[in-house]
Amino acid sequence: MTPFSEYGVHATPLVHLERIAPPGVRIFAKCEWHLPTGSVKDRVAAAMFDAAKSGGLLQPGVRLLEASSGNTGIAIARIARLHEVPFTVILPDNVTTERLALLSALGAEVIFSPGAEGSNGAVRRADEMAEAGGYLMLHQYANQANPEAHRLTTGPEISAGLAAYGVSRLDAFVAALGTGGTITGVARHLALAHPGTVVVAAEPPVGEAIQGLRSLSDGYVPPVFDPSVLDAKLLVRTEASISMARRLMSEEGLFVGPSSGAAVHAALKVAARLEPGSVVVTVLPDAGWKYLSTGLFGASGAQGEELSDTTLW
């Protein structure tokens, strides 16, 4: 049982990456594609929906609204459909076709925002619509249910998963940054359960074509992200993320998306700085399915330069 099992959110496997880790350091990874729509966002969607329900916000006639580069929208769409609540998602128009197909299959209304504005543009558009009225915006970027989902489920599952391997120490936790909800929530759990664990974020670079900001002050630091929980933040370039996603497939047999590649790339960098015997945990947010159309896993292999124009996560 997890706090959100009524929404189909159950514990995901924590696997030991035995082949890719440097000698002497054990790296464990949480396989989030085992969740109902195949990504870590099923936790966030369940927690936000549950908070809205408990808060009496799901009145008849309400329409849910969210800005998402894909995974969160897909996760909310599933739950909204199960509960017969209409749902509109604002999606950058350069996301992969798989996401659009999934959202349509789940009955969500899709409104596009300019891909050049990335997730920031989608958030801005959704904010404007929410202000105009008629919508209940769940707002993963500002909804405390997002980090809480991870404090209440992902974090304790990591502790339980390590215990099942007979591992009692945890030297570092590494996660890729999107909203910052995963790392903030898990870090809050670890501060009590494994005090002293070094917390490291992997940040994706902003692609050349996704830099449609007019000025730096158009930038956005999600309110759910608590930068004070971090001990370090590493920039992981698109090429490195993709190359690691491919290595995970060939060396560990794990078919993951690019944010998982980024997380493991950063985890290996962290592991290289740790003493022998150390333990590192990371999170693999989704599988590779939704990225097939990018050529990420193709024989020739799309290059990072081309893919940096796609909103990958």
Partner: protein, 91 residues
């Protein structure tokens, strides 16, 4: 110390269109001051009026965020690569 600074698209108009700049300094703050002498408008974007790092600017020294190193006082080694990026979200 000689460093190379990668400039994001939105700041290139303040750097005569350059994708990369060379600058010298013993710390990130010194490097930014050196940049500001030649590109004053870029300098205004990199350093707040009180001399701190603006919230929507992320600065990476050899791919590591300087906020978790020593901030603008972070020492730089010769041939360091500094990457400036706007703060954005994903998800």
């Amino acid at each position: 110390m000689n460093t190379t600074i990668s400039i994001p698209t939105i700041l290139r108009p303040h750097a005569d269109g350059a994708r990369k700049l060379s600058a010298v300094g013993a710390t990130i703050g010194d490097v930014f001051k050196d940049v500001a002498t030649r590109h004053p408008k870029l300098g205004q974007q990199l350093l707040a009026p009180d001399g701190s790092l603006p919230i929507f600017v992320n600065v990476f020294l050899d791919d590591e965020d300087i906020r978790y190193l020593g901030g603008l006082d972070t020492p730089v080694a010769d041939r360091s690569e500094i990457t400036i990026l706007p703060a954005v979200a994903g998800g």
